[in-house]
């Protein structure tokens, strides 16, 4: 069903579209030739749209061929620039474009994309029987993407789950596909082979880089404050902290949360170990090992951050949100915001 040039241009990740481009057997050198200048320009605007608007446009005026070919060129550009922010921003912008297009398609097309490209287990539901739901998707495929959406309506517990299938409306299903597309594009960028580009294309890339730097300048996050301000701790951390200093038992997850939080707001390892001393099962060497592990000084070298609010709720470490909590999703975000509020 999805075989027209228009479909390929809209959804360049389709297997047919990828094969079509492959069969043209284009070399990157050919891209600097005049007949491809429209393709290269469109690739550049795709990236600019991503940077500025956060969504790429569906541009069919100049023909489907240009639209289709400009996608792999844009991927080559982004991959060549090799900047994490740009990679994420671009993949997301393409995914958003696709989401808005999918909403307009007939159900069968959505199903075909989900099955043929991603191998999902999904069924179309007869409208009269299951209103207002249009699709049923295996919960396993649902959980590939839904957990990254933070709104309560995406939680599995708030979905109709029957016999392993999650019931979804069309806009929800389009959103899930577009998230899978986002990951797919990000992976394509990260795995695309490095290619030598000629000076003309490098010039274009320089231009994109300038735009990128301008954009990054604007969003640069201010450095975190040096002093630790305990008045800005979120309720969960305050709770754990009180437990700790009063020598009460804290679960493993609780200790991890508190330790990683305090390390992230700038507490030194030695100071933290001092804090743990009143605990009855305190063991200086083991505690040091664990704290240093979380700090990223040992082991894999990963510096850990505390779990998100969601995860803390699951482990019953959230004592119940205050006003500010309802606007954030992570204890560190709470801390940063609260500091700004205190300083005002």
């Amino acid at each position: 069903m999805l075989v027209s040039k228009e479909d390929f241009a809209k959804y360049p990740f389709l297997i047919g579209a990828v094969e079509y481009v492959k069969n043209l057997d284009l070399k990157t050198d050919e891209l600097s030739q005049p007949e491809f200048s429209a393709v290269v320009t469109r690739a550049e605007t795709r990236i600019e749209e991503a940077l500025i608007d956060g969504i790429t446009k569906w541009e069919s005026r100049r023909g489907y061929e240009i639209e289709l070919l400009s996608y792999p060129v844009a991927v080559i550009f982004v991959s060549n620039i090799d900047d994490n922010y740009l990679k994420k921003r671009y993949s997301l912008a393409e995914a958003k474009r696709i989401q808005s297009l999918l909403k307009e398609e007939v159900d069968e097309k959505l199903i075909e994309i989900a099955i043929s490209v991603f191998g999902w287990n999904v069924k179309n539901l007869p409208l009269e029987v299951y209103q207002p739901f249009d699709f049923s998707l295996s919960f396993i495929d649902y959980l590939r993407n839904a957990p990254s959406f933070h709104d309560y309506r995406w939680k599995l517990v708030n979905k109709r789950l029957i016999n392993g299938e999650v019931f979804l409306q069309k806009d929800e299903f389009s959103r899930l596909i577009s998230e899978e597309v986002r990951k797919y594009i990000e992976k394509t960028i990260n795995t695309s082979p490095k290619v030598e580009l000629n000076p003309l294309l490098l010039q274009r890339i320089e231009h994109i880089k300038q735009r990128l730097n301008l954009r990054k300048e604007r969003i640069r996050i201010k450095d975190q404050p040096q002093n630790i301000i305990s008045a800005a701790y979120p309720p969960c951390i305050k709770n754990l902290y009180d437990f700790l200093i009063s020598g009460q038992h804290i679960s493993h997850v609780g200790r991890f949360t508190l330790t990683s939080f305090l390390l992230n707001v700038g507490m030194k390892v030695d100071k933290l170990i001092e804090l743990y001393t009143p605990i009855s099962d305190f063991n200086q060497r083991l505690t040091r090992y664990q704290v240093e592990h979380i700090a990223g000084v040992r082991g894999s070298g990963t510096k850990y951050t505390p779990p998100s609010c969601e995860t803390l709720k699951t482990h019953r470490l959230c004592p119940g949100p205050d006003d500010l909590c309802t606007r954030i999703k992570h204890p560190l975000a709470y801390y940063r915001r609260k500091i700004r509020m205190i300083r005002k």
């Binding site: 990254s148 708030n158 392993g164 709720k313 482990h315």
Partner: protein, 421 residues
């Protein structure tokens, strides 16, 4: 006389090890290895050492069986995860996937009997007592105590009914075929539920967390399941999920229905946010409410009982309908779980695998008995009433009793008895 008798008592540790050794000598060959055992990590707790012997892997069942016979572990585990190289250190194992596991342990359950069957032992002498330990031991002045929990039938029954609730979730909501759901009695305080299916192996921690939240009802928003207030000129009306709806909708409705049927005024009043007056109002209007419940999704239009009240009832309903699982176990994709037919070091009982459809009739205290032969005279320091097999024993307090082997070993493992000469 009494002093002489106490002198003749011995710490039973050596005896326990000897019995465990005999068990593995006779039974190691029938212990089934898990599927894809070559890709799993095995772990063992030993009697004489603290900590766990981890990162073991076996390429053939006989190597595992020989190993277990040679070391006599107190507890045996394997990973729910599959690795490329299970014997390497954690970061280098190469995680391939993991089974989906749940742990129901009455440690996590709020059972009213809990205070009765917890006791303490002094680490310096052998003084024992029920309930919370004193700050200093009256016999030796020691200040370090170990808490021990008895196996309690009420708790085991509660754990079992939680397991049955979970199985209902797994079959009806998650769509797992019953024969793919393996239930294991842990040999001590609870049940593990273990699902091995190709398609769930890849689920990451975020996905597993969503499954945990689903069975716990965490983050459930009742408005997303259809509870709302409809205002009409004739008055207000509350509509909610239908009793027959699948998934959480139906569970919420059934839970609220149960509350209305079984709670008295006092119990209704104990629900957070329900005042005494409101409790009496709900209680007196129950029949009227039931009548409206027969009309599909209508939850009633009784004056004074608004949506806020219904929300409070729903909160309690969700609490009652959810399954109390250990959240960490399911989310951890590197978890070790006990192996069926191995022994539990704290009881001397066997880990038993039960087909999910037979769980209801399963009697852990009979079917998990590993040492069914012989009797033994033991000196019991203190023991609560307990059952092993068909018979009930105790309570005992500083006395010599002749017990069947399983009961004697149980008391030894609980450090509640000594060996007599």
């Amino acid at each position: 006389m009494r002093i002489k008798r106490v002198k003749a008592m011995k710490n039973p540790q050596e005896f326990i090890v000897q019995k465990f050794t005999e068990y593995y000598r006779d039974n190691a060959n029938i212990i089934p290895l898990p599927t894809s055992y070559k890709n799993r990590e095995f772990g063992f707790i030993l009697f004489d050492k603290g900590g766990m012997l981890r990162h073991k892997a076996f390429v053939e069942p006989r190597f595992f069986r020989d190993f277990i016979k040679s070391i006599t572990p107190s507890d045996v585990y394997h990973s729910a995860a599959y690795y490329k190289q299970p014997s390497r250190e954690m970061g280098k194992k190469g995680w391939i996937g993991a089974d989906l596991i749940f742990d129901i342990d009455f440690d996590h359950l709020r059972t009213p009997c809990k205070v009765e069957h917890e006791y303490w032992t002094c680490e310096r002498c052998d003084q024992v007592g029920v309930g919370k330990h004193p700050s200093v031991c009256s016999q030796c002045g020691g200040s370090k105590f170990k808490m021990v929990a008895w196996l309690c039938e009420t708790c085991l029954e509660t754990a079992k009914s939680e397991a049955l609730k979970l199985i209902d979730f797994l079959i009806n909501d998650f769509g797992f075929p019953p024969h793919d759901i393996e239930v294991c009695f842990s040999g001590h305080r609870g049940y593990h539920i273990h699902i091995e299916r190709e398609e769930i192996r890849q689920l990451d921690q975020d996905a597993r967390k969503e499954i945990v939240d689903y069975v716990l009802g965490t983050g459930l928003k009742v408005s997303l399941h259809g509870l709302m207030e409809v205002r009409r000129r004739t008055g207000h009306k509350v509509i909610g999920p239908d009793l027959n709806s699948p998934g959480w909708g139906g569970k919420i409705a059934k839970g609220v229905y149960d509350i209305l049927v079984t709670y008295n005024i006092q119990q209704l009043n104990e629900i957070n946010g329900i005042s005494k007056n409101m409790a009496s109002l709900i209680y007196s209007q129950r029949d009227k409410i039931f009548k409206t419940w027969n009309n599909g999704n209508s939850w009633g239009s009784i004056k004074g009982i608004g949506i806020k009240t219904w929300e409070k009832l729903v909160e309690t309903s969700v609490d009652n309908q959810s399954v109390n699982i250990d959240t960490v176990v399911t989310i951890d994709i590197h978890r070790l779980i006990r192996m069926p037919l191995t022994l539990h070091g704290k009881t001397g009982l066997k880990v038993i695998s039960i087909p999910s459809k037979s769980l209801e009739r399963f009697d852990p205290l009979r079917e998990a008995v590993a040492f069914s032969k012989g009797t033994l005279k033991v000196y019991v320091l203190a023991a609560h009433r307990f059952r092993i097999g068909e018979d009930i024993y105790g309570p005992y307090r500083r006395e010599i009793v002749k017990l069947p082997m399983a009961a004697a070993i149980y008391l030894f493992c609980k450090r509640a008895a000594l060996l007599t000469d």
